[in-house]
């Protein structure tokens, strides 16, 4: 009997919880205190000592904030709230951490890259259009530029696009349209291929085509190495896009009497046009900054090279690579400038792919 009584009194003791109630002032107040106090302490440390900021944030602020949040949770929600408070604080911490890294990356690119692109006389178009002939590392930044490297990157990426896009789309068509017996294997190989390190792609082209003497180190060799890296991206994105095309289109075209090849070439691929463009752009964005394969396959050049077959050629990533290694501030400024240009290219491609992708999703819904 006593146990029953105990339980009843226990039930009566418990306050009914009403989660739909307005947030209690107590909760807001404890959150405010729990955020302001650690911040104030850390601000004090910043003001009075000169310990590096990152160390203060990681060694003082984060533990302090964790403890403060735990106390606040303990007061308002009891013991069960403590784990939640740790989770929330560290998740926000990880988010801020990644924001700091991205802002530092982009910020330093802009601040340091602008030096080469923007002089006292204004925007230096020469930096974008001139080449590197007659330029040594101590030449003032007004002379010379990375025009040859931009052109080289365009040629190499163009060659790799010409090779990788048809093969990538054919792979996607095989998986979604032809649907042969080997589909699971093909998908698996494409996935495995996407994990090939870029340096290995360069080594492969080097040993198969260059060491054997078939072709020299040139834009074509670089383009082939890029194509190896680009193919899986194009194939996988295109596959996803083709999957979205409704089967009605295919069966409709077949019912009208068209052959299978025509169904794919005249109906399915045109219907997936924007998606295919996205796949191509993502493929280009994947390779455009790759450095390691070019160091082995296309080397470098100071001149503007148009012949893709028998001469080493410059590209943006290798231009950055060469200039960083030089112990001259001018050369380093050129490297940052080139990095800014490269990042802008990646950003533009990324944004275009996003906008096209959003349009597609918007139209479907």
């Amino acid at each position: 009997m006593t146990t029953v009584l105990d339980r009843e009194s226990l039930v009566q003791d418990q306050q009914p919880q009403r989660p739909w109630r307005k947030r209690p002032v107590q909760l807001d107040a404890s959150i405010a205190i729990a955020t302001l106090v650690p911040a104030a302490i850390v601000a004090g440390i910043f003001a009075t000592t000169d310990i590096p900021g990152a160390v203060v944030l990681l060694v003082v602020y984060l533990p302090l904030q964790l403890v403060a949040a735990a106390i606040a949770a303990l007061v308002t929600r009891g013991r069960r709230g403590v784990a939640d408070s740790f989770l929330i604080v560290s998740a926000i911490g990880a988010t801020i951490f990644s924001f700091i890294i991205l802002i530092s990356l982009i910020g330093s690119l802009i601040v340091r890259g602008i030096e080469a692109l923007w002089g006292p006389e204004g925007f230096r178009s020469s930096f974008l259009f001139q080449n590197n002939v007659y330029i040594n590392p101590s030449t003032p930044l007004e002379y010379g530029g990375l025009g040859h490297a931009i052109l080289g990157t365009l040629i190499i990426v163009g060659i790799s696009t010409l090779i990788a896009v048809p093969i990538g789309i054919a792979t996607a068509v095989y998986i979604t349209e032809v649907r042969g017996r080997a589909v699971p294997y093909v998908r698996f190989f494409v996935q495995s291929m996407s994990g090939i390190p870029s340096i290995v792609a360069g080594l492969f082209i080097l040993t198969v085509l260059i060491v054997s003497g078939a072709i020299g180190q040139s834009a074509f060799a670089g383009g082939l190495a890029y194509a190896i890296l680009m193919l899986p991206t194009v194939a996988r994105t295109a596959e996803e896009v083709l999957r979205l095309i409704p089967d009605d289109l295919r069966t409709g075209a077949l019912a009208l009497g068209s052959t299978r090849a025509r169904v794919v070439l005249r109906v399915v691929l045109p219907a997936a046009k924007t998606g295919i463009v996205t796949a191509i752009i993502l493929g280009i964005a994947r390779v455009i900054g790759e450095t390691a394969p070019l160091l082995l396959t296309s080397l470098k050049s100071d001149q503007t090279v148009l012949n893709p077959f028998n001469s080493p050629i410059a590209a943006l990533p290798t231009y950055i690579f060469d200039n960083v290694a030089l112990p001259y501030p001018g050369a380093v400024a050129r490297a940052w400038g080139a990095a800014l240009v490269l990042m802008l290219l990646v950003l533009i491609l990324f944004t275009i792919a996003r906008i096209i992708g959003r349009d597609r999703v918007g139209r479907r819904s």
Binding site: V186, T259, R260, A292, M343
Partner: protein
């Protein structure tokens, strides 16, 4: 007289009735096997060099650390192989908690707009070329990181991991691992974000209705549900870390000796970086062959890691559908 049953035509199987279709099918099928051809080609051509290196150097190629190319060439990449693993481990130790927290924040905590923004930020981070990360790490990250390491050594130097006898904090495995973590976080985050986002809302609601706190819900529902995908994402990040070349080139002082665990002591190894660093001053066909052999083992390692990762991710994806 009964009506003849109409035969069902299989509209999806490869038709062979039309000549144009046959050509089209064969062309597409042949092109679809390019991936296999490339993989096999890499295995064969680099494997040939590897066999050559193993024949002349024996197993010393994998288990010693000397690299003298001359009259009697001795080559061993043990330091590089171990270094690659060590750097990847340091990167994983930082990247796994950071990415899991980040994806938890995106999926379960952030308001929708912030979540979209974070998704884009993470994808953008994945798209930053490694040369730019290397440039940033060399000029922006290294100076403060040296200071952090010296503080670490000052206060935690009694732990063997943080010993540094030279006083030189440049080019350490710690900085290189940090850079690798920055490159792994977007990959692991985007995979685990997708997997966590696919947790059935019913399960989450049920857990919350039972009075689970957010942490309990994650521990009992979301993480067990997405475990396969998360592990696969981590393996994908590992694959990228093992193959990373250029970013490491800028921040790691390459030495052939094995740096077992002194992660804030200058000097470490990385197979991929060895290839780029040595290629510029390669002394002749024999050394080039050794580099190709090193490339083969790099290829083998990343291929195995990636295949396992893809198997795990695919399987968990099927289970959830």
């Amino acid at each position: 007289m009964s009506l003849a049953e109409p035969k069902q035509r299989d509209l999806h199987s490869a038709a062979t009735s039309h000549r144009g279709d046959r050509i089209f099918n064969r062309t597409v099928t042949a092109l679809a096997f390019t991936a296999l051809v490339v993989l096999a080609g890499i295995a064969i051509f680099l494997g040939y060099s590897a066999v050559d290196a193993l024949r002349t150097q024996g197993l010393d190629f994998l288990f010693t650390t000397e690299w003298t190319i001359g009259e009697d060439p001795k080559a061993g990449i043990a330091g590089m192989l171990y270094g690659s693993v060590l750097l990847a481990l340091i990167g994983l130790v930082i990247a796994i908690p950071a990415s899991l927290l980040l994806s938890t924040f995106i999926v379960f905590m952030a308001p929708k707009r912030l979540a979209n923004l974070m998704t884009n930020v993470v994808d953008l981070m994945a798209a930053i070329p490694s040369i730019i990360i290397g440039l940033w790490a060399f000029y922006i990250l290294t100076p403060p990181a040296e200071e952090w390491q010296s503080l670490l050594n000052q206060y935690l130097g009694w732990i063997p991991l943080f010993q540094n006898s030279s006083g030189n904090f440049n080019g350490t495995p710690f900085i290189a691992g940090l850079v690798l973590a920055i490159m792994m976080i977007p990959i692991i985050t985007s995979v685990s974000r997708e997997v966590l986002g696919r947790t059935p809302p019913d399960l989450i609601n049920a857990a919350e209705a039972l009075g689970c706190s957010r942490w309990t819900m994650l521990r009992m529902v979301a993480f067990p549900y997405g475990r396969g995908g998360i592990v696969g994402g981590i393996m994908l990040g590992l694959g990228r870390a093992l193959g990373e070349t250029i970013a490491i080139f800028f921040v790691l002082k390459l030495v052939f000796e094995i740096n077992w665990y002194h992660i804030i002591e200058s000097g470490g190894g990385s197979v991929a970086t060895l290839i780029v660093a040595s290629f510029g001053e390669v002394s002749g066909p024999y050394e080039l062959n050794l580099l190709l052999a090193a490339g083969f083992f790099l290829f083998l390692g990343t291929l195995i890691v990636n295949m396992i990762a893809n198997l795990i991710v695919n399987r968990s994806g099927k289970m959830q559908r």
